[in-house]
Protein backbone atom coordinates (compact mmCIF):
# COMPACT_ATOMS: atom_id res chain seq x y z
CA UNK A 1 0.00 0.00 0.00
CA UNK A 2 2.81 2.37 0.99
CA UNK A 3 4.81 1.36 -2.08
CA UNK A 4 1.78 2.10 -4.29
CA UNK A 5 1.37 5.52 -2.74
CA UNK A 6 5.10 6.12 -3.21
CA UNK A 7 4.80 5.30 -6.91
CA UNK A 8 1.79 7.58 -7.24
CA UNK A 9 3.67 10.46 -5.64
CA UNK A 10 6.62 9.77 -7.91
CA UNK A 11 4.48 9.99 -11.05
CA UNK A 12 2.81 13.16 -9.74
CA UNK A 13 6.27 14.68 -9.22
CA UNK A 14 7.38 13.74 -12.74
CA UNK A 15 4.16 15.09 -14.21
CA UNK A 16 4.53 18.38 -12.34
CA UNK A 17 8.13 18.82 -13.52
CA UNK A 18 7.13 17.98 -17.10
CA UNK A 19 4.23 20.46 -17.09
CA UNK A 20 6.24 23.29 -15.51
CA UNK A 21 9.24 22.69 -17.78
CA UNK A 22 7.21 22.39 -20.97
CA UNK A 23 5.27 25.51 -19.99
CA UNK A 24 8.48 27.46 -19.44
CA UNK A 25 9.81 26.41 -22.84
CA UNK A 26 6.48 27.19 -24.51
CA UNK A 27 6.49 30.68 -23.01
CA UNK A 28 9.89 31.35 -24.63
CA UNK A 29 8.80 30.58 -28.14
CA UNK A 30 8.71 33.54 -30.47
CA UNK A 31 8.18 32.17 -33.89
CA UNK A 32 8.08 28.46 -33.87
CA UNK A 33 5.97 28.69 -36.99
CA UNK A 34 8.64 30.85 -38.60
CA UNK A 35 6.28 33.77 -38.94
CA UNK A 36 7.68 36.16 -36.29
CA UNK A 37 5.64 38.91 -34.67
CA UNK A 38 3.66 41.26 -36.86
CA UNK A 39 4.75 44.90 -36.95
CA UNK A 40 2.13 47.51 -37.71
CA UNK A 41 2.53 49.67 -40.80
CA UNK A 42 2.05 52.81 -38.67
CA UNK A 43 4.93 51.85 -36.42
CA UNK A 44 7.15 51.10 -39.40
CA UNK A 45 6.33 54.48 -40.92
CA UNK A 46 7.15 56.21 -37.64
CA UNK A 47 10.56 54.54 -37.59
CA UNK A 48 11.59 55.83 -40.98
CA UNK A 49 12.98 59.11 -39.68
CA UNK A 50 16.44 57.63 -39.44
CA UNK A 51 17.50 55.42 -42.31
CA UNK A 52 20.20 53.65 -40.32
CA UNK A 53 23.60 52.45 -41.45
CA UNK A 54 23.11 50.40 -44.54
CA UNK A 55 25.21 47.82 -46.36
CA UNK A 56 24.19 46.16 -49.61
CA UNK A 57 22.49 47.16 -52.82
CA UNK A 58 19.66 49.67 -52.56
CA UNK A 59 17.58 47.47 -54.90
CA UNK A 60 18.07 44.28 -52.87
CA UNK A 61 14.75 42.41 -52.64
CA UNK A 62 14.93 41.95 -48.84
CA UNK A 63 15.78 44.54 -46.21
CA UNK A 64 16.89 43.30 -42.79
CA UNK A 65 16.88 45.95 -40.08
CA UNK A 66 18.85 45.13 -36.95
CA UNK A 67 18.32 47.02 -33.70
CA UNK A 68 21.45 46.49 -31.67
CA UNK A 69 23.44 47.74 -28.71
CA UNK A 70 27.22 47.84 -28.95
CA UNK A 71 27.61 46.74 -25.33
CA UNK A 72 25.16 43.83 -25.57
CA UNK A 73 26.91 40.42 -25.47
CA UNK A 74 24.29 38.73 -27.66
CA UNK A 75 24.72 41.48 -30.29
CA UNK A 76 28.46 40.84 -30.21
CA UNK A 77 27.86 37.15 -30.83
CA UNK A 78 25.56 37.98 -33.72
CA UNK A 79 28.12 40.36 -35.21
CA UNK A 80 31.07 37.99 -34.83
CA UNK A 81 29.53 34.64 -35.66
CA UNK A 82 26.71 35.38 -38.07
CA UNK A 83 27.40 38.66 -39.84
CA UNK A 84 30.42 37.45 -41.85
CA UNK A 85 28.27 34.74 -43.45
CA UNK A 86 25.37 37.13 -43.98
CA UNK A 87 27.57 39.69 -45.69
CA UNK A 88 29.39 37.13 -47.82
CA UNK A 89 26.40 35.08 -48.91
CA UNK A 90 23.41 37.37 -48.75
CA UNK A 91 24.56 40.99 -48.92
CA UNK A 92 27.35 40.63 -51.50
CA UNK A 93 25.12 38.50 -53.69
CA UNK A 94 22.60 41.33 -53.83
CA UNK A 95 19.82 39.47 -52.04
CA UNK A 96 19.79 41.51 -48.83
CA UNK A 97 20.34 45.07 -47.76
CA UNK A 98 21.31 45.10 -44.08
CA UNK A 99 20.46 48.12 -41.98
CA UNK A 100 21.90 48.72 -38.52
CA UNK A 101 19.95 50.93 -36.14
CA UNK A 102 21.07 52.23 -32.76
CA UNK A 103 19.40 50.82 -29.69
CA UNK A 104 21.70 51.56 -26.75
CA UNK A 105 20.07 50.10 -23.64
CA UNK A 106 20.07 51.98 -20.35
CA UNK A 107 21.44 48.95 -18.52
CA UNK A 108 24.80 49.41 -20.27
CA UNK A 109 26.93 52.24 -18.96
CA UNK A 110 29.25 52.80 -21.91
CA UNK A 111 27.02 52.00 -24.81
CA UNK A 112 25.83 55.56 -25.55
CA UNK A 113 29.44 56.67 -25.93
CA UNK A 114 30.09 53.68 -28.21
CA UNK A 115 27.11 54.56 -30.40
CA UNK A 116 28.23 58.18 -30.55
CA UNK A 117 31.74 57.07 -31.54
CA UNK A 118 30.26 54.88 -34.29
CA UNK A 119 28.11 57.77 -35.54
CA UNK A 120 31.12 60.07 -35.65
CA UNK A 121 33.12 57.54 -37.64
CA UNK A 122 30.00 56.86 -39.70
CA UNK A 123 29.89 60.47 -40.94
CA UNK A 124 33.27 59.67 -42.51
CA UNK A 125 31.78 56.61 -44.25
CA UNK A 126 33.58 54.16 -41.99
CA UNK A 127 30.71 52.93 -39.89
CA UNK A 128 31.00 49.20 -40.72
CA UNK A 129 34.70 48.79 -39.92
CA UNK A 130 34.01 50.70 -36.68
CA UNK A 131 31.02 48.45 -36.02
CA UNK A 132 33.37 45.45 -36.21
CA UNK A 133 36.00 47.12 -34.02
CA UNK A 134 33.42 47.88 -31.35
CA UNK A 135 31.94 44.39 -31.29
CA UNK A 136 35.21 42.49 -31.56
CA UNK A 137 36.71 44.69 -28.86
CA UNK A 138 33.61 44.73 -26.64
CA UNK A 139 35.24 42.74 -23.85
CA UNK A 140 38.11 45.26 -23.72
CA UNK A 141 36.16 48.48 -23.53
CA UNK A 142 33.00 47.35 -21.74
CA UNK A 143 34.94 46.67 -18.56
CA UNK A 144 37.49 49.41 -19.06
CA UNK A 145 37.63 52.82 -17.42
CA UNK A 146 39.15 54.32 -20.51
CA UNK A 147 36.45 53.32 -22.99
CA UNK A 148 36.61 56.66 -24.87
CA UNK A 149 40.33 56.16 -25.33
CA UNK A 150 39.66 52.75 -26.86
CA UNK A 151 37.02 54.23 -29.17
CA UNK A 152 39.55 56.81 -30.37
CA UNK A 153 42.04 54.04 -31.03
CA UNK A 154 39.41 52.09 -33.03
CA UNK A 155 38.54 55.23 -35.01
CA UNK A 156 42.21 55.69 -35.82
CA UNK A 157 42.52 52.02 -36.81
CA UNK A 158 39.68 52.31 -39.32
CA UNK A 159 41.30 55.38 -40.83
CA UNK A 160 39.05 58.16 -39.55
CA UNK A 161 40.22 61.77 -39.65
CA UNK A 162 40.87 62.18 -35.94
CA UNK A 163 40.39 65.94 -35.82
CA UNK A 164 36.91 65.55 -37.25
CA UNK A 165 36.22 62.58 -35.01
CA UNK A 166 37.28 64.39 -31.84
CA UNK A 167 35.27 67.46 -32.74
CA UNK A 168 32.22 65.29 -33.47
CA UNK A 169 32.42 63.41 -30.17
CA UNK A 170 32.94 66.66 -28.24
CA UNK A 171 29.92 68.23 -29.89
CA UNK A 172 27.73 65.20 -29.24
CA UNK A 173 25.78 66.12 -32.33
CA UNK A 174 24.51 62.60 -32.91
CA UNK A 175 23.16 62.05 -29.42
CA UNK A 176 19.72 63.30 -30.40
CA UNK A 177 19.63 61.03 -33.44
CA UNK A 178 20.63 58.04 -31.32
CA UNK A 179 17.87 58.86 -28.87
CA UNK A 180 15.42 59.19 -31.75
CA UNK A 181 16.44 55.74 -32.91
CA UNK A 182 15.76 54.39 -29.42
CA UNK A 183 12.33 56.02 -29.44
CA UNK A 184 11.60 54.58 -32.86
CA UNK A 185 12.56 51.11 -31.65
CA UNK A 186 10.27 51.48 -28.64
CA UNK A 187 7.45 52.63 -30.91
CA UNK A 188 7.92 49.46 -32.93
CA UNK A 189 7.71 47.36 -29.80
CA UNK A 190 11.36 46.32 -29.81
CA UNK A 191 12.07 45.21 -26.26
CA UNK A 192 15.49 43.62 -26.42
CA UNK A 193 18.67 43.50 -28.45
CA UNK A 194 19.37 42.29 -30.97
CA UNK A 195 16.00 42.43 -32.68
CA UNK A 196 15.57 42.05 -36.41
CA UNK A 197 12.87 43.22 -38.74
CA UNK A 198 12.82 41.20 -41.91
CA UNK A 199 10.15 42.18 -44.35
CA UNK A 200 7.29 43.13 -42.08
CA UNK A 201 8.06 40.67 -39.29
CA UNK A 202 10.00 41.13 -36.10
CA UNK A 203 12.41 38.52 -34.76
CA UNK A 204 13.75 39.16 -31.26
CA UNK A 205 16.98 37.48 -30.16
CA UNK A 206 20.03 36.21 -31.96
CA UNK A 207 19.28 34.29 -35.12
CA UNK A 208 21.51 31.94 -37.00
CA UNK A 209 22.60 32.43 -40.59
CA UNK A 210 20.52 29.42 -41.67
CA UNK A 211 17.39 30.92 -40.19
CA UNK A 212 18.01 34.33 -41.73
CA UNK A 213 18.57 32.65 -45.09
CA UNK A 214 15.39 30.61 -44.66
CA UNK A 215 13.37 33.75 -44.00
CA UNK A 216 15.02 35.59 -46.90
CA UNK A 217 14.32 32.59 -49.18
CA UNK A 218 10.68 32.60 -48.14
CA UNK A 219 10.34 36.31 -48.96
CA UNK A 220 12.40 36.37 -52.14
CA UNK A 221 13.08 32.90 -53.51
CA UNK A 222 16.21 32.51 -55.61
CA UNK A 223 15.32 32.54 -59.31
CA UNK A 224 16.72 29.42 -60.95
CA UNK A 225 17.68 29.59 -64.59
CA UNK A 226 15.64 27.42 -66.92
Amino acid sequence: MTAKRGMKNFYILLGAIAVVGAGAIWSQRNSGDGSGVAVTIEALEAARGFEGYSIGQAAAPVVVTEYADFQCPACRIQAILTMPDVIERLVRTGRVRWVFKDLPLDIHDKTRAAHLAAACVGEQDRFWPMHDQLFYGQNEWASSRGAERRFRSYAETVGADMDRYNECVRSGRYNARIEASVQEALALGVASTPTFIIGSRMYPGTISYDRIKGIVDSIAPVQTQQ
Binding site: G6, M7, F10, L13, L14, Q28, R29, N30, G32, P73
Partner: protein
Protein backbone atom coordinates in the same frame (compact mmCIF):
# COMPACT_ATOMS: atom_id res chain seq x y z
CA UNK B 1 12.47 7.63 -3.31
CA UNK B 2 14.96 5.03 -4.56
CA UNK B 3 17.92 5.72 -6.84
CA UNK B 4 15.97 4.94 -10.03
CA UNK B 5 13.29 7.46 -9.11
CA UNK B 6 16.03 9.99 -8.39
CA UNK B 7 17.59 9.31 -11.78
CA UNK B 8 14.20 9.58 -13.52
CA UNK B 9 13.56 12.97 -11.89
CA UNK B 10 17.01 14.32 -12.78
CA UNK B 11 16.83 12.88 -16.30
CA UNK B 12 13.48 14.56 -16.89
CA UNK B 13 14.99 17.90 -15.84
CA UNK B 14 17.93 17.26 -18.17
CA UNK B 15 15.58 16.32 -20.99
CA UNK B 16 13.67 19.58 -20.59
CA UNK B 17 16.89 21.60 -20.41
CA UNK B 18 18.50 20.00 -23.45
CA UNK B 19 15.22 20.31 -25.38
CA UNK B 20 15.22 24.02 -24.52
CA UNK B 21 18.75 24.44 -25.87
CA UNK B 22 17.95 22.36 -28.93
CA UNK B 23 14.79 24.31 -29.73
CA UNK B 24 16.78 27.53 -29.37
CA UNK B 25 19.52 26.22 -31.63
CA UNK B 26 17.06 25.37 -34.39
CA UNK B 27 15.50 28.81 -34.14
CA UNK B 28 12.20 28.06 -32.42
CA UNK B 29 12.81 30.27 -29.36
CA UNK B 30 13.75 33.89 -28.72
CA UNK B 31 16.49 35.06 -26.37
CA UNK B 32 17.94 32.44 -24.07
CA UNK B 33 16.80 33.07 -20.50
CA UNK B 34 19.47 34.34 -18.08
CA UNK B 35 21.87 34.65 -20.99
CA UNK B 36 25.19 36.41 -20.90
CA UNK B 37 26.14 35.62 -24.46
CA UNK B 38 28.11 32.54 -23.40
CA UNK B 39 25.53 30.01 -24.54
CA UNK B 40 25.18 31.81 -27.86
CA UNK B 41 28.97 31.70 -28.34
CA UNK B 42 29.11 28.00 -27.52
CA UNK B 43 26.05 26.96 -29.48
CA UNK B 44 26.50 29.10 -32.57
CA UNK B 45 30.19 28.29 -32.94
CA UNK B 46 31.74 25.40 -34.81
CA UNK B 47 31.53 23.18 -31.73
CA UNK B 48 27.77 23.70 -31.39
CA UNK B 49 27.16 20.80 -33.78
CA UNK B 50 28.67 17.37 -34.33
CA UNK B 51 28.34 15.95 -37.82
CA UNK B 52 25.74 18.59 -38.53
CA UNK B 53 23.63 17.61 -35.53
CA UNK B 54 23.25 20.17 -32.72
CA UNK B 55 25.09 19.04 -29.58
CA UNK B 56 21.96 19.76 -27.54
CA UNK B 57 20.13 17.09 -29.52
CA UNK B 58 22.59 14.47 -28.25
CA UNK B 59 21.58 15.66 -24.78
CA UNK B 60 17.92 15.15 -25.66
CA UNK B 61 18.64 11.58 -26.78
CA UNK B 62 20.80 10.79 -23.75
CA UNK B 63 18.40 12.12 -21.16
CA UNK B 64 15.44 10.48 -22.92
CA UNK B 65 17.30 7.17 -22.74
CA UNK B 66 18.06 7.62 -19.05
CA UNK B 67 14.45 8.58 -18.33
CA UNK B 68 13.15 5.56 -20.24
CA UNK B 69 15.46 3.06 -18.51
CA UNK B 70 14.80 4.49 -15.05
CA UNK B 71 11.01 4.43 -15.57
CA UNK B 72 11.26 0.80 -16.70
CA UNK B 73 13.46 0.12 -13.67
CA UNK B 74 10.83 1.24 -11.17
CA UNK B 75 8.19 -1.11 -12.58
CA UNK B 76 7.43 -4.09 -10.30
CA UNK B 77 8.73 -6.56 -12.90
CA UNK B 78 12.19 -4.97 -12.87
CA UNK B 79 12.57 -3.53 -9.39
CA UNK B 80 14.50 -6.55 -8.09
CA UNK B 81 16.67 -6.78 -11.20
CA UNK B 82 20.05 -5.05 -11.16
CA UNK B 83 20.30 -4.67 -14.96
CA UNK B 84 18.46 -1.34 -15.29
CA UNK B 85 20.83 0.19 -12.75
CA UNK B 86 23.82 -1.16 -14.68
CA UNK B 87 22.40 0.40 -17.84
CA UNK B 88 21.84 3.71 -16.06
CA UNK B 89 25.41 3.65 -14.84
CA UNK B 90 26.80 2.98 -18.33
CA UNK B 91 24.58 5.51 -20.09
CA UNK B 92 25.29 8.25 -17.58
CA UNK B 93 29.00 7.33 -17.65
CA UNK B 94 29.02 8.04 -21.39
CA UNK B 95 27.11 11.27 -20.67
CA UNK B 96 29.68 12.35 -18.09
CA UNK B 97 32.55 11.67 -20.51
CA UNK B 98 30.81 13.63 -23.30
CA UNK B 99 30.03 16.47 -20.89
CA UNK B 100 33.65 16.53 -19.70
CA UNK B 101 34.76 16.94 -23.32
CA UNK B 102 32.27 19.78 -23.90
CA UNK B 103 33.30 21.50 -20.69
CA UNK B 104 36.95 21.22 -21.74
CA UNK B 105 36.05 22.90 -25.04
CA UNK B 106 34.26 25.71 -23.21
CA UNK B 107 37.22 26.28 -20.89
CA UNK B 108 40.18 25.93 -23.22
CA UNK B 109 39.03 26.22 -26.81
CA UNK B 110 35.93 28.40 -27.02
CA UNK B 111 36.75 30.46 -23.92
CA UNK B 112 33.10 31.01 -23.09
CA UNK B 113 30.83 29.46 -20.50
CA UNK B 114 27.26 28.47 -21.17
CA UNK B 115 25.37 28.51 -17.87
CA UNK B 116 22.74 26.08 -19.08
CA UNK B 117 25.42 23.64 -20.21
CA UNK B 118 26.92 23.81 -16.72
CA UNK B 119 23.52 23.03 -15.21
CA UNK B 120 23.29 20.04 -17.53
CA UNK B 121 26.80 18.98 -16.46
CA UNK B 122 25.69 19.06 -12.81
CA UNK B 123 22.58 17.02 -13.65
CA UNK B 124 24.45 14.28 -15.51
CA UNK B 125 27.03 14.08 -12.72
CA UNK B 126 24.23 13.69 -10.18
CA UNK B 127 22.61 10.98 -12.33
CA UNK B 128 25.92 9.14 -12.55
CA UNK B 129 26.47 9.43 -8.80
CA UNK B 130 22.96 8.14 -8.03
CA UNK B 131 23.48 5.22 -10.43
CA UNK B 132 26.83 4.34 -8.85
CA UNK B 133 25.34 4.39 -5.38
CA UNK B 134 22.43 2.24 -6.55
CA UNK B 135 24.74 -0.25 -8.25
CA UNK B 136 27.18 -0.72 -5.42
CA UNK B 137 24.55 -0.80 -2.69
CA UNK B 138 22.62 -3.56 -4.37
CA UNK B 139 20.28 -5.06 -3.29
CA UNK B 140 18.36 -2.03 -2.05
CA UNK B 141 16.75 -2.13 1.35
CA UNK B 142 13.20 -3.40 1.03
CA UNK B 143 10.65 -0.61 1.23
CA UNK B 144 8.32 -0.80 4.18
Amino acid sequence: MNHRMTVATLALMGLLLSSYLWFWKIGMLGDLACGTGGCETVQLGSYGSLAGIPVAFFGVLGYAGLLGVSIIGVQPRWENNRDPTAWLMMLSGVGVAFTAYLTYLEAFVIHAWCRWCLVSAALILAVFAASLVGFFRWPPEPSR
